[in-house]
């Protein structure tokens, strides 16, 4: 067994040998330190009554007052409910979608068809939400949108989709799936590529049908990737996606579409309530942290796979 002195000497040697790699890593670590870890300190604003004139250091300490105000705010429950519902729908419907698509593509043997579908589903990922939303506006417009023109021609009444409380959440979920699923499909396809072909051949020889091969080979083969992505997604349960909601929503649909991120933006950036919104941000991050720990623990127990 090596002693501490020997281990340090070994580290020194390793360091000097790989000094260029360490130096390259330094810039990445510096980025994390400057933009991710050092700002943690300023989360203390959540416990202060931040005043422009006094700055961060001199603003008075108010303890949990901002959190109290948050939990008493009539809008907090609304945005929390909307965030959980929209995010929950996105996970429930949006998370399995790319898995199903990847498995489907994996079972389609004609590579040209496979590549075509993959490209079609992947391209929207590279379009910004601003562009994507303008396409949605054009398609869903109650006066000139393609969908409403079709509805009218079929004898129906045009629907103001983006101003309808009934339709707003489904639009968020569907547009999110169509935009993002191509990206995750590629990840699952990459994981599927790592599953040994011989196992499939052996299963076919043993008489396994398509469904049995998917259930007993494909899904277990990509289970670690599914688990990791699921844990990470759960950590983002209170993150709906600011850009998407901000671009598509209006006061008409605040009751069903105003989420923590858009509320935070209006209160913090437009309203200048920095302490209050930092408290909200801290609450959101804490929930995300607990969810990651808890889901990792549960999934490790259930499937044997986890983040750590």
């Amino acid at each position: 067994m090596q002693g501490p002195a020997s281990r340090f000497s070994s580290f020194q040697k390793q360091f000097w040998k790989n000094r260029f790699l360490f130096f390259m890593a330094l810039s990445i670590l510096a980025w994390y330190a400057i933009f991710r870890y050092i700002p943690y300190y300023w989360n203390l604003i959540a416990f202060k009554d931040y005043q422009y004139s006094m700055g961060f250091a001199k603003s008075p300490w108010v303890g949990f007052e901002n959190f109290k105000a948050l939990f008493q705010d009539p809008f907090f429950l609304r945005v929390l409910r909307n965030t959980l519902v929209i995010s929950g729908l996105k996970i429930a419907i949006g998370f399995p979608f790319p898995i199903i698509l990847a498995i489907f593509l994996n079972e389609v043997f004609k590579s040209a068809f496979k590549k075509t579908i993959q490209t079609i589903t992947f391209v929207p990922f590279f379009i910004s939400w601003v562009i994507y939303a303008s396409i949605l506006f054009s398609v869903l417009s109650p006066s000139v949108g393609m969908l409403n023109v079709l509805i009218s021609r079929l004898g129906g009444e045009p629907i103001y989709f983006l101003a309808s409380e009934k339709w707003f959440r489904p639009i968020l979920v569907i547009s999110d799936i169509t935009k993002q699923s191509g990206y995750f499909t590629v990840i699952y396809m990459a994981a599927l590529a790592g599953v040994d072909e011989e196992i499939f051949e052996a299963a076919i020889c043993d008489g396994a049908n398509l469904f049995q091969r998917i259930w007993h080979i494909t899904i277990p083969g990509i289970a670690p990737v599914i688990t990791i992505l699921f844990i990470l997604r759960l950590g983002q349960l209170l993150t709906v996606g600011f850009e998407q909601v901000y671009i598509l929503y209006s006061p008409m649909v605040y009751d069903v579409g105003d989420v923590i991120e858009t509320f935070n933006y209006r209160q913090g950036i437009l309203g200048g309530r920095f302490s209050y919104t930092t408290a909200l941000g801290l609450f959101k991050s804490s929930i995300g942290f607990v969810l990651v720990i808890a889901s990792n623990w549960v999934l490790k127990k259930l499937t044997g796979h986890g983040l750590w």
Binding site: R19, F20, F23, Y50, Q51, Y52, S53, G55, P74, S141, P142, S143, P158, Y160, L162, A163, S250, P251, M252, Y254, R266, Q267, I269, L270, G271, G272, F274
Partner: protein, 514 residues
Amino acid sequence: MSKNKFFLLFLIIFLLSSTQIFSGAQKEEGKVTLRWMDLPEAIGDVENGEFMTALKEKFPEVDFQLEPILYSAYKEKFPVLMAAGDLPEIFQTNAQSYLPQLVAGNLIAPLDDALKTYGKDIVGNAREGHLAFGQYSGKQYSIPGSYSLKYFAQNIRMDWLENLGKAVPKTMDEFRDVARAFTFSDPDGNGKDDTYGTAFRQNINFIDSFFNAYGVAPNHHQIGMWRIRNGKQTNDWVQPEMKEALENLASWYEEGIIHPESLTLDWNQWWNLYLQNKVGMWYHQPRRLSEMNSSLIKAGIKNAKMWPIAPPKGPYGQGTSNEGQPWGTFFSGNNLDKAVEVYNYTFTQEFFLKSKGQLDYAFAPKPELNSKGWPVYYTYDEALTDPNYEERRKKVQYSRVWTGWALENPNMTKTWPDRDLAAHVMQQFQNTLGGAQIEGNKLADKWAVTSSKTVPVPADAKYFVNLQSMFREIATKIVSGKDSDQVWSEWLAYYNANGGAEIEKQVNELIPVK
């Protein structure tokens, strides 16, 4: 090159660049630094424009550092700049929302003393009554813009009225009748069902003439409209007449005579509906009518004529809304005397000539001066017909800094020694006006309603933004057809519990009823 030498070279470059990054912009030795924040719609070559060239010549001891923020990003960036305490020496903002916070945070300096010594032209050329918009707690905190606040009018497509054989509407009922005809009777004769009576913008913006018929108004961008009722300052947002107006607007909306997307339209989408010949009534600035009509005519609508008319007469009144308070220029307090001296210079005759008249925010001077060396502005007809006008206007507009200087201010040249030049400048303004704007200005002057709350109060700093956001939400809900009784009672409860009552109390204490 060996690995070690390469590593060493890389390290040196890295450290040098870091030093450069962290050193920031170097101060020019012995110079006074003035950071100046402007809010243009697009960023042009301000640094080398006539405006800055004239200033740099006059003040060689000043190191001007321009900090433009696109107007579209202003609402996001300004509160962050305030929070960071990083406001420049000279900057502009709309006083109503931010003045109390700026004063409470010691982020701006009172200007009374500096104006006495260095601001004679600012004070001498101010529009009548406008300096009061920049006062707070008995001190002068900003230089308000001197443009006219009475610039909104009700406009209607006269050619559509003629096509349908309709008279100019006067009452609310007549307006509704015309809106129906515009929607259902094919006013443009194209054989398609593709037109609407009127349209407004998201958050029930730009339809104040409708509300003023009920004796209330959301006001420009929902900054609030206050009126004296029973000897007290009261907020229109919570009056029963506001509920009635919203309910009536909802019935127009339900009937389909308002463009269905009005509840979500942004500025460009809204403006384009008019340019696409889709909507017949328009509430906005007559100043833009020439642009609208000329675009429609160029698009093949030969007789297109959107024209100002009197606003609808309703059950409780008639009127249009003023902008409320003009945008103003503020000073952080660093190098205050020099900043005010520089700013004052932009109001002088010397600067007008040196900068070749590139001051007014709306009108562009021609590249050539007249025989006396004085700037000449494009006339109304020239602006419509000169193919180079638009390019010139943009170049001028985006290569100077906004100061609130306005040709339309009758006092703008009051301190200038050359009275012939002053008369020439005033004549230039008259030349820029077209028939629609002259008529619209008259109507705006006649019908404009001014909020009786002329300046913000301290409670605005804490409550205004949330109340404004909530008002937008409830107004939208009622117009879209939600249960108005329930929404209205929730709004009143929210208003009273979240600062509305406190703002009203302070307004009544601090802003005397005249």
